[in-house]
Every structure is written in structure tokens, then in C-alpha cells.
């Protein structure tokens, strides 16, 4: 059932209500604070816990990752692909570490599961590209976080 609201004389007169509305708009126009910013010159600051682009942490040039496969195990989007190998200075390391970024849902479970603190999500949120990219190990190893 439609509820009919009783309106007073001034409201029915209409012109006064328009004037009041215009006053509110003008008040925000002249004295209000800007909500938009001048992106990309100006940027917002995000929380340190923001989940953006991935990176693999490296200490002294050696990646922390030991290819334990916990991140692909926990990944709900099934977007991490790792192949393990062995080399002189490290018993187990990822020969291949790929993240299909288009599949990723940025849940951050990989970061949480990682026992070696290797895979992390940075504050970078500009991930637009001209092609469908799969992040490989070399790309992920570049330190990209704010640190």
C-alpha cells in the first residue's frame, strides 16, 4: 500500500523547496571539501595490509622460496604453478614460479600459508597491461613493495 505523506503549504508551493535544495548544493560547491584527487599526480595511501601485486622476497639475492607447494595447495583460484629443482647452494628451489595474475582473486591465502615468508602481496595496485600476463619468477623476484 502506498503511504501518502501529508505535505505542508510551503512544500506544495515547491519554489521554496527548490531554493533550499539549491542552497545546499551551493554550500558544498563553494565551501565543501574535494572528494576526488588528481590521479596520477596525487595518490591515496593504502594500509600496509593492502593485498596488491605479488612478489617473492629475496635475501642477498637468494629467493626465500623453497618450492614447498603450500601456496598452490591453498590457492582457491588455482593460479600458482611451481616446479621444484635442486642446485648447488640450495637443496630445493623453484625452477619455475608462475602466477596467472588474471585468475588471481587477491585473497592473500598464499602469503598466509607461506612458511618461509617468500611470497608476499605488495601495495602496488596498478596492474593494467596491454597483454594477458603470467608473472614468472624473474618478474616476481624484483623487489616491488614499498619495503
Amino acid at each position: 500500500m502506498l503511504i501518502k505523506k501529508e505535505q505542508g503549504f510551503l512544500q506544495r508551493f515547491y519554489l521554496v523547496e527548490v531554493a533550499i535544495g539549491t542552497w545546499i548544493t551551493m554550500k558544498n560547491w563553494f565551501f565543501g571539501k574535494n572528494i576526488t584527487i588528481q590521479y596520477p599526480e596525487e595518490r591515496r595511501t593504502y594500509s600496509n595490509r593492502y593485498r596488491g601485486q605479488h612478489f617473492i622476497k629475496a635475501v642477498n639475492g637468494v629467493e626465500n622460496c623453497t618450492a614447498c607447494m603450500l601456496c598452490p595447495t591453498v590457492c582457491p583460484a588455482d593460479c600458482i604453478h611451481i616446479e621444484a629443482g635442486e642446485r648447488e647452494d640450495k637443496e630445493k628451489y623453484p625452477v619455475k614460479f608462475e602466477i596467472d595474475i588474471l585468475r588471481c582473486c587477491f585473497c592473500g591465502f598464499c602469503e598466509e600459508a607461506c612458511p618461509k615468508d617468500a611470497i608476499k602481496l605488495s601495495n602496488i595496485y596498478e596492474m593494467a597491461d596491454y597483454e594477458r600476463r603470467v608473472y614468472d619468477k624473474d618478474f616476481l623476484l624484483i623487489q616491488r613493495s614499498k619495503k
Binding site: 618450492a67 614447498c68 607447494m69 603450500l70 595447495t73 621444484a84 637443496e91 612458511p115 618461509k116
Partner: protein, 471 residues
């Protein structure tokens, strides 16, 4: 039958049985490291301690025989404290490298730590470390992870029957090594990785290939020799990663040899022929299945006498299909090592046999003649069926007037063949083998056929019209 009571549950036992086995039958798995059903009992890990009513001390369930009316408790505070203590001592020196260790996911130490251990460690000194020496082509050793259960030493003595592993030094410095650091001699070295409860001994073949929690398993039969060992095929996404023995007291007990264990790599070999191939002209041509069955029908139509040489790893089901499809043809079996199954004999003390095919006895029962009486020149058309690991004698197809190859072929084996129809390997098909004891053993398919390969029965039914007109 006499009874014991385990945690309030009454279980029957045969005289002489140990508590640990009887409790396992009542679904009460007592934690253990050094105890293995197939090995002798040493009772040295002290993990299986249980309380028996009326006895002052805790006793090891693995070495204590049951007596009638015995009341065993595995969940009292005393037992729990003792087990947690043992667990803590083992973890004092165990490295926390589960992310690297291949055993993670099927590790007894991990499982028992979750079930019975403390949440944290109180040990903040340096952990004991060793330098590892290579142990041969099969096994990779990581002594730091070892918990000194000595299963491997007893395995080498009792299963491999070569005394080659020993415990060097003693106390905290105990090191499990091969004598004089020699590589392992035994043909059953891969089993060390199975009996090792931790990741101290792992196979080099499976090293870092896959984490075990991804693997799916299928029950199968090893096609390496006429013993027909029961195995578990671990696979994921259509790829086989490892074979492990499956317990069968009448055939292989708990064990399998290395030859069988690593004998699956041919399935995913890059040189395997994966699509029907026409070799009648000078260039190799890949066909689709309808073209291929037409080509096969043409070959079959023109032949008046057909001889089939079947490698003895065809299943009984495939044998029936072949017999039905070629009612007039002559059948010969082929096996490596022996010509007839009566020549078959054991080549060592445990499992390995001279006959390197899984189903020679089954083929003979189906009326196949031995390979020695096979002469390809007697037939207008020879059909070579290679259904698994057994490789047909190289170049035999060159002696035949015309020949079709069905089954698993490699690119380097194609000389002389006119047409190849790719079929399944043992792990891609289901069927029945008859082993050397005459025991019929069924197995299920583990993975999907590779590429365009099809089960032999399907190929034959597509050809059947052409085949029945022949002869």
C-alpha cells in the same frame, strides 16, 4: 578364542600375536616408528608404550605378546605423557625442513607430532648435523632427519638379505650408514624409502617431483615380471609419479623390487607413438582413427593367413578380444627371459623372476604357442601386439611380408611395420593377469590413455568387420 581388552574394546587374538597388531585390528593404531609388520622386532623407539592393568611399568606394544584377559590402556595420562616425551626427544634434533622434505604429508613424525606431541619445542641449542654420503642411484639420504629407528638396517638384512647398512658410533652421535660408505647393492633399495618413517631415505626418482598430498592412488599390478606384485600407482593429472608396493601376503608381502618400482617411465616417454601411424609409404603419416581402421581393414582383407605375436603383457580380456577378432589366425606369445612359463624360475631369494612378462601363463592357458615356433614368413600378415613393458624383438617386423603393430610402440621400433595402432600400457587399462602361481589378479586403470591411444578392445571392435571376412 582368547581375548584382550584394548581401551574397553574386546578383541580376539591368536596366541603369539603382539598387542600392536591386535589393537590395530580394533581400529586403534598405536603410534610406532621402529615396528614394521614385515621386519623383526627391536622395540627401541619406545613410541608404542602402553599401560597394562596390573603391571607397574609401561610396556612396548610391539614386543609384548597378548595373554588372555589382558587389559590394555593406550589413553591414560601416563601413556600420553610418555609418548609426548618420546616425541619431544625425537624432535629435539629433527630439522624443521618439512617444506623441503619429500616425506611431508606422509611422515609418521609429522602425524604423531600432531596427534601426540607437544605444541612447541623447549630445545634451543644447536641441532645435531651430519654430512651425507651418496647411497647409490636409488636412494637419497638425509641423515639430519633420521630418528634412528633402524628399520632400514633390518630391511637390508632381512628383505634385501645383504648386510650393508649399520649404525655407526652410539648415543647422540649414532649415524646410519652403509658399510664403508659403499653404494647400496640390494635390488630392493627403493623399499628403504617406504620403510623409513621420516624423510631420511627418499627415492631419487620421485625427488621433488610432486608433493604427496596431490597424488591420487590406484590399485594395480606390476608388469615387470611374472611375480605380479601388487602395487599402488600414484598419479596426478594423467601423469604417473611413482609406484609403491601394496600388501598382499600371498604374492609380494609388503615389498617390490627396484626394477618394478621404476619401471613406469616408458608410459610417458616422449618417443612413444601416440597417434595411428601409416608407414606404408616412405614418409611417416599420422592418421585419425577412422582412416587408421580403414587402412588396417585393407591390410587384413588382402591377407589369407594371419599370425599374431602377442607380448605376454596383454590382459586376459585383451586375449579374448583378439581371439574373437581373428578366429582363423595363429597366436604366439612372446616374453623376455623365457620361452615357456615352465622355464620360469626365481632369480633371487624374494620376488624377482626370470620371466619378465606379467601374463605368460595366462596366454598359454588361452592356447598361445611359444615364440620359438613363430616364423613371420609363414604368414601373409603378421600382427604384433605389444601391450605394455615387454619389447618385441627388434627388427622382427622386417621379416614379415606385411605387418600391423598394435599397442605401445616407440618411434625407434617402427622399422618394418606397415601400420601402427597405439593402444594402452598396463597402467592405462584395466584387466586381469595370471601370475607365476596361477593366481588371477585384476587391476584397475590408473590414468587416461596418452594421446590418441585407445584400449585394444576398442580398436579391435572397430576392425571386426574387416577381420571376420579374412580367411
Amino acid at each position: 578364542m582368547p581375548n584382550i581388552v584394548v581401551d574397553g574394546v574386546q578383541v580376539e587374538f591368536k596366541p603369539g600375536e603382539k598387542i600392536i597388531d591386535v589393537a590395530a585390528r580394533a581400529k586403534n593404531v598405536i603410534p610406532r616408528y621402529c615396528y614394521h609388520e614385515g621386519l623383526s622386532i627391536v622395540a627401541q623407539c619406545r613410541m608404542c608404550l602402553v599401560e597394562i592393568e596390573g603391571q607397574k611399568k609401561l610396556v612396548t606394544a610391539c614386543s609384548t605378546p597378548c595373554t588372555d584377559g589382558m587389559k590394555v590402556n593406550t589413553t591414560t595420562d601416563r601413556v600420553k605423557k610418555s609418548v609426548a616425551g618420546v616425541q619431544e626427544f625425537l624432535l629435539a634434533n629433527h630439522p624443521l625442513d618439512c617444506p623441503i622434505c619429500d616425506q611431508a604429508g606422509e611422515c609418521s613424525l609429522q602425524e604423531n607430532s600432531y596427534k601426540h606431541g607437544n605444541e612447541d619445542t623447549r630445545f634451543d641449542f644447536f641441532r645435531r648435523t651430519y654430512i651425507d654420503v651418496d647411497m647409490g642411484p636409488s636412494i637419497k639420504k638425509n641423515m639430519n632427519r633420521c630418528i634412528h629407528c633402524t628399520r632400514c638396517i633390518r630391511y637390508c638384512d632381512e628383505v634385501g638379505q645383504i648386510h650393508e647398512m649399520i649404525a655407526e658410533q652410539r648415543g647422540n652421535n649414532t649415524a646410519i650408514v652403509t658399510i664403508d660408505d659403499k653404494p647400496l647393492q640390494t635390488a630392493y633399495a627403493g623399499g628403504l624409502a617406504d620403510v623409513c618413517p621420516v624423510g631420511s631415505l627418499t627415492t631419487k626418482d620421485f625427488r621433488f617431483k610432486k608433493r604427496v598430498w596431490y597424488l591420487k592412488t590406484a590399485a594395480s599390478i606390476c608388469d615387470g615380471c611374472s611375480q605380479g606384485c601388487n602395487i599402488t600407482v600414484s598419479h596426478d593429472a594423467g601423469l604417473i609419479y611413482r609406484l609403491e608396493p601394496r600388501e598382499n601376503q600371498e604374492v609380494n608381502k609388503w615389498w617390490m623390487c627396484d626394477e618394478g618400482r621404476y619401471g613406469f617411465h616408458h608410459v610417458h616417454s616422449p618417443s612413444r607413438v601416440m597417434s595411428p601411424t601409416d608407414l606404408r609409404t616412405s614418409e611417416m603419416k599420422s592418421l585419425n582413427w577412422s582412416e587408421a581402421s580403414n587402412a588396417a581393414r585393407e591390410l587384413l582383407k588382402s591377407a589369407r593367413s594371419i599370425g599374431l605375436l602377442v607380448a605376454a603383457d596383454a590382459t586376459l580380456e585383451e586375449v579374448v578380444a583378439l581371439k574373437k577378432s581373428f578366429p582363423q589366425a595363429e597366436f604366439f606369445s612372446f616374453s623376455i627371459g623365457v620361452d615357456k612359463s615352465e622355464d620360469d624360475k626365481a632369480t633371487d631369494h624374494l620376488l624377482r623372476r626370470k620371466d619378465k612378462s606379467p601374463n605368460l601363463r595366462g596366454l598359454e592357458e588361452a592356447g598361445f604357442k611359444p615364440f620359438s615356433s613363430f616364423d613371420p614368413k609363414n604368414f601373409d600378415l603378421c600382427v604384433f601386439v605389444s601391450a605394455g613393458k615387454v619389447r618385441l624383438p627388434y627388427g622382427i617386423a622386417k621379416l614379415a611380408k606385411k605387418s600391423i603393430g598394435m599397442g605401445l610402440f616407440f618411434k625407434e621400433e617402427l622399422t618394418g611395420l606397415n601400420l601402427v595402432l597405439p593402444a594402452c600400457s598396463t597402467y592405462e587399462k584395466a584387466g586381469t593377469f595370471v601370475n607365476q602361481q596361477g593366481k588371477k589378479q585384476c587391476f584397475a586403470a590408473a590414468v587416461q590413455p596418452v594421446g590418441m591411444s585407445r584400449p585394444l578392445e576398442n580398436i579391435l571392435s572397430a576392425l571386426s568387420d574387416g577381420a571376420r571376412k579374412v580367411g
